[in-house]
Amino acid sequence: MNMHFFTMQGLLFVVLLVLLSVAGCKDGRQSLTTAQPVKIGYMLCNSEAETRERFIPLTRYLSDKTGTRFEFVPVDTHEVEKRFTSGEFLFTHTNSLLYVILKERFGVQLIASEKRGSFGAKTGGGIIVRKGSPIKKVSDLKGKRFAFGPMLAPTGYLAEYNLLLDKGIDPEKDLIYTIPPGSFKHEKLIYGVLYGEYDAAASPLLDLEIMIREGKISADDLVVLAETPLIPYCTFAASKNADPALVEKVKRALLELNQEATASVDGETLKVLKAAWIDGYQTIPDSEYNAIRQMARRANMPPYQTY
C-alpha cells in the first residue's frame, strides 16, 4: 500500500516536471535562461559601477534580439588581453586601441563601431591649458608639468603622445609628465589643469564636451592648444572562434539599435542607447583603424612595442 502510494507520488512528480519544462520552452526568453551564457567582456570606462549601469541594458537587449543569453563581464583595461586569451569571454567591447591589439595578436573579428559625440564613430582629443596660461603653443610645453590619461586610452594618451611628437616634443625627454591614478582619470586631469596642478594635459574631446554640458567646467576656462586627428571610438568585436551566425546576429542587432529600443533590467524598462550614453553603432572597415596602428608604432605602444 505504502509502496504504491510512493510510486504514484513519484509518477506525479515526473509528470509535473515534464509539464513545467514544456511550459518553460514556450517563449524564447525562458529558453534563454536554460542555455549556457555567452560572455561579453566590457572594458571598464570610468568605474565598474558606471560601466555596469551603462552596458547591462545593452547586454540584455542583445540577448532579447538574438535569442542567445549574453552575460556582462566587467574587465579592467589592463586585463582585457590576459582574460580574453584565457577564454573568459567571446565577445569584446573595448576602446579602439585594445581592439587593434586583440586584432593583431588574436585575429578578433570587427563587429561594429560605437557612435558617440559630434563625429559619429570617430572622436579626437586635444592638449589643453588653462585660460590665461603663458603656454601659447605646443613648443612652450618643454619642461612643463603635463598629465596624460590612462596609457591605453586612444584619445587620452596615444593620440596626444603622437601629436606632441609631430610638434617636436618628446614626452619622455621634454615633459615632466604624470598619469593620475584611480578612476575618472580624464575628469581628474581636466580639473588638474583648471586648478593649476598641471600646466597642460591630454584630454579626450568627449570628456570636455560632457563636462561643459553638465556645467562642471566652462568652455571659457580652458584653451585647446592643439587637436589630434579623429580616430575610431569604442568597438565591438568577437573571437575568431565565435559562431559566425551568432556574430552576424549581434552585428544586426547593434546596427538596428535606435533611440526607442528598450530592455528590461531588474523589472525596470530602460532605453538601451540612453542608458549606454551612446548614439548607436555603425560598420566601418578595419582600415579605418590604421591611423591607430601608425600611432601605436610611433609611440612604441602595444601591439608593436619593442623594448
Partner: protein
C-alpha cells in the same frame, strides 16, 4: 461791461465730451491702418535687426575659430552656447560645418538639415542669414558619399540629404 454767463456742470460735461471726441478723431486720423501696419513692420524689422546682431555677436568669434581650423575650441564654445540657446539654428549649422570639415558627412548633413528645418532663411538666397552656397556645396560632396554608404544608417543619411536638396530646389517644409 462783459456779460459773463456762468457755466453749469452740464456745460462743462458738454465741453469735455467735445474735447475727448476731437482727440479721438485726431488719434484715428493719425493712427490709420496704414500707419499701424508701418509701426508693426518697423517692430518686425527692429526685431530682425536685433536677431541678426545677436547672431553676429554670438557666432562671429566661432566662425573665425572654425576658419582658422580650431575645431575643438569652436565645438566647446558651441556646447556652451547650446546651454543658453538650446536648438538655436546658427549653432546647429556651425556644428554641421565643423563636422563636414572633419569628414563626418552623415553627422554634418543631419546638422545642416536640423538647422534648415529650424530656420528656412539659410536656403533663401536673399536672406542676410543665407548659407545657400555652403549648403549646396555640402549636398554635392555628400551625395557621392551617401551612394557609397551601405550601412544601416545610410537610410537616415539619405533622408537628410534629400530634405536639403528639396529645400535648395525651392520645396517647402
Amino acid at each position: 461791461m462783459v456779460n459773463c454767463v456762468k457755466q453749469d456742470i452740464f456745460d462743462r460735461l458738454l465741453l469735455t465730451a467735445f474735447v475727448v471726441t476731437c482727440a479721438a478723431l485726431l488719434y484715428i486720423a493719425v493712427a490709420s491702418p496704414a500707419n499701424r501696419s508701418t509701426a508693426v513692420t518697423d517692430d518686425k524689422a527692429l526685431a530682425r535687426e536685433g536677431q541678426l546682431l545677436l547672431i553676429k555677436t554670438l557666432y562671429d568669434p566661432l566662425e573665425k575659430l572654425i576658419a582658422d581650423g580650431h575645431y575643438q575650441s569652436a565645438l566647446l564654445q558651441l556646447e556652451e552656447l547650446a546651454k543658453k540657446y538650446p536648438g538655436e539654428p546658427t549653432g546647429l549649422l556651425l556644428r554641421g560645418r565643423i563636422q563636414a570639415a572633419r569628414g563626418a558627412l552623415p553627422e554634418a548633413v543631419a546638422g545642416y538639415s536640423a538647422a534648415v528645418r529650424a530656420n528656412g532663411s539659410f536656403v533663401d538666397a536673399r536672406s542676410p542669414l543665407s548659407r545657400r552656397d555652403e549648403i549646396a556645396a555640402l549636398v554635392a560632396s555628400a551625395s557621392q558619399a551617401a551612394n557609397d554608404t551601405g550601412s544601416a544608417e545610410a537610410h537616415q543619411f539619405r533622408q537628410h540629404l534629400y530634405y536639403l536638396k528639396s529645400r535648395l530646389a525651392g520645396g517647402c517644409e
